[in-house]
Symmetry: C2
Subunit: 342 residues, 2 copies
């Protein structure tokens, strides 16, 4: 027996297709008695609606815009690729997806992007960017125009965004801390911390989670103040080098954000790879190489593919006024060693 359709419901309930449709979509203007007849028929025949046929008839289209920082980070490249891949797949059914970029720390450019989006007929916006007043205000203006807004990778805490798609960065920092502590073992010593910038909320949260765990559980290890690489290989390499030179009993290095390239360059140069425990974030091609070469021990990853797909599902759900399945949209903190690199 094949699946029942609206026709079967109409026949069973003795009404027309239009009425069935009204009831199914809980539109007004149907007598209660009729509503009940239709609902009973649905129940009896075990009807479930073909959502794709419905969308087809409805000619619903979604306009989604992703706003990403422009920058040298390989994670951004991966995220961009993941968005494009998702845009080509079934999750983007009836959706038009564009990616707009603005330099990371140029508030004027960010504002320009927001102004541009406001001119257009857009249903949803996913934004990754530092938490600035410009962004907060831009989000507020979009919300005023009923646009769905989700924050990507790093949250916009004090804004009116509808949803955050990304990992819990404090927990990610704690995870890094536990692995650092356990891998270092009983050796006393110092851990160097390299970060791109302490302006970004996600970096600060990771660092705090890391520090908490180290202080609580591994008090014999001293965590050094962060040095900043500012998304610049040369600078990152220089400050890393310096930090390792000034502190002779360093047993580990935590690379909190982008900048692993500069760090590994120094480590490879020193041949230190084997007596320093190195923990970093984001499984970029460079991180992969470093894991395989044994220069880095652990990578804490946020899966760009999951982030892109989750953003797509959440944008759509909010546009349709449908509940999101929270458990499915939770972005996991992945731990990657050489052994489970796949």
């Amino acid at each position: 027996m094949s699946k029942p359709t609206v026709h079967d419901i109409a026949r069973e309930a003795g009404v027309s297709l239009a009425t069935v449709d009204r009831v199914l979509n809980s539109r007004p203007g149907v007598r209660e008695k009729t509503v009940k007849r239709v609902k009973d028929a649905v129940q009896k025949l075990g009807y479930t609606r073909d959502i794709y046929a419905a969308n087809l008839a409805r000619q619903r289209r979604y306009e989604f815009v992703f706003v990403l920082p422009r920058g040298p980070s390989q994670f951004l490249v991966a995220l961009r690729d993941a968005i494009l891949e998702t845009a080509a797949g079934p999750l983007s059914d009836r959706a038009n997806i564009r990616i707009l970029s603005a330099p990371y720390s140029d508030p004027v450019a960010v504002d320009k992007v927001f102004r541009q989006i406001e001119q257009e007929q857009v249903d949803g916006v996913a934004i990754m960017g530092n938490e600035t007043p410009m962004v907060r205000d831009g989000i507020a203006r979009l919300k005023a125009r009923n646009v769905v807004v989700v924050a990507l990778v790093t949250d916009q805490t004090n804004s009116a965004r509808d949803h955050f798609v990304g990992i819990d960065n404090t927990a990610a920092g704690r995870t890094a801390g536990v692995l650092m502590g356990r891998f270092v073992g009983d050796r006393a010593g110092k851990v160097a911390v390299v970060v791109n910038t302490m302006q970004a909320r996600d970096m600060v949260q990771r660092r705090m989670g890391f520090d908490d765990v180290m202080a609580e559980r591994f008090p014999h290890i001293q965590v050094l103040p962060s040095v900043e690489g500012r998304d610049d290989h040369e600078l990152t390499a220089r400050v890393t080098e310096q930090c390792l030179r000034l502190n002779e009993d360093v047993v580990g290095l935590y690379c909190v954000g982008a900048g692993l390239r500069g760090v590994t360059q120094v480590l490879r140069g020193r041949g230190q790879a084997h007596d320093l425990v190195v923990v970093g974030h984001d499984l970029t091609p460079h991180a992969r190489d470093a894991l395989e070469a044994g220069v880095v021990d652990v990578i804490i990853n946020q899966n760009a593919g999951h982030i892109a797909r989750s953003a797509m599902r959440v944008l759509r759900a909010h546009c349709d006024g449908v509940e999101v399945i929270a458990s499915q949209e939770k972005i996991r903190i992945e731990i990657v060693l050489r052994e489970n690199l796949t």
Copy 2:
């Protein structure tokens, strides 16, 4: 401008819808000149086909059967739930999904299930079960009837299955080994190994991966012979207890498969939780509790949701004669600590 449709292509190429359809689906019986005209139009207008509308018109339905072992394992419960959830979602569009069960180690029952499937009009079968001649022959008969067959969780290596959906269990064992070795640190001692049965290929592979890494990288730790719990809490608890009693300098315990409940029961009883490094598999509710309580240190997980969704995509792709995206269908080996439990 809205997306071009078959109508636009037909107009642009000066042919009928039927001809456009023939070319789009590379059906025979169209002059080469006409084919080119249509293809040019597709190119020019940037046409992409609406796959859901196509399926709707085609009235294609898929009949899929999942064959699972019946057993007390919580992982099986999770897998079953994940399959049901996937069956309710968009991935199951136009697919009818059933789950059939057969006791793990009852070849006659397994054979009966296969015979039943053969009677029906089924498009695809996903099977999780021990590698036995019964299963191998059953798969061969299904393949003879052109049914798509994928192996789930544990591979059917010498069968004609079309695809394997699951983790690399050797790599999973290696991952367990590295974490065991690094968490134990410099302490010399023994590691106990508890397994449900050594009859299952995945258990053997994990154990081999584990042993390899331990021998290579942590020679100061001695890995004890496996004790078998046979999917029975009582027995598992008993053999675990015994193993720990007979070997006084045990520093770690590796629980290779189901049976974590029996193991943790013993550990909680002994209050040993804090000086033994415990590594297990599969993030079941019990495993979660044990991680949170600090009784278990690491869980190596295979994500039941990913497995269910991947199986669904792969079954459909093979039915449609479409290439699967290998990178997307790779099931990751997840590492879970208390800190990234989410």
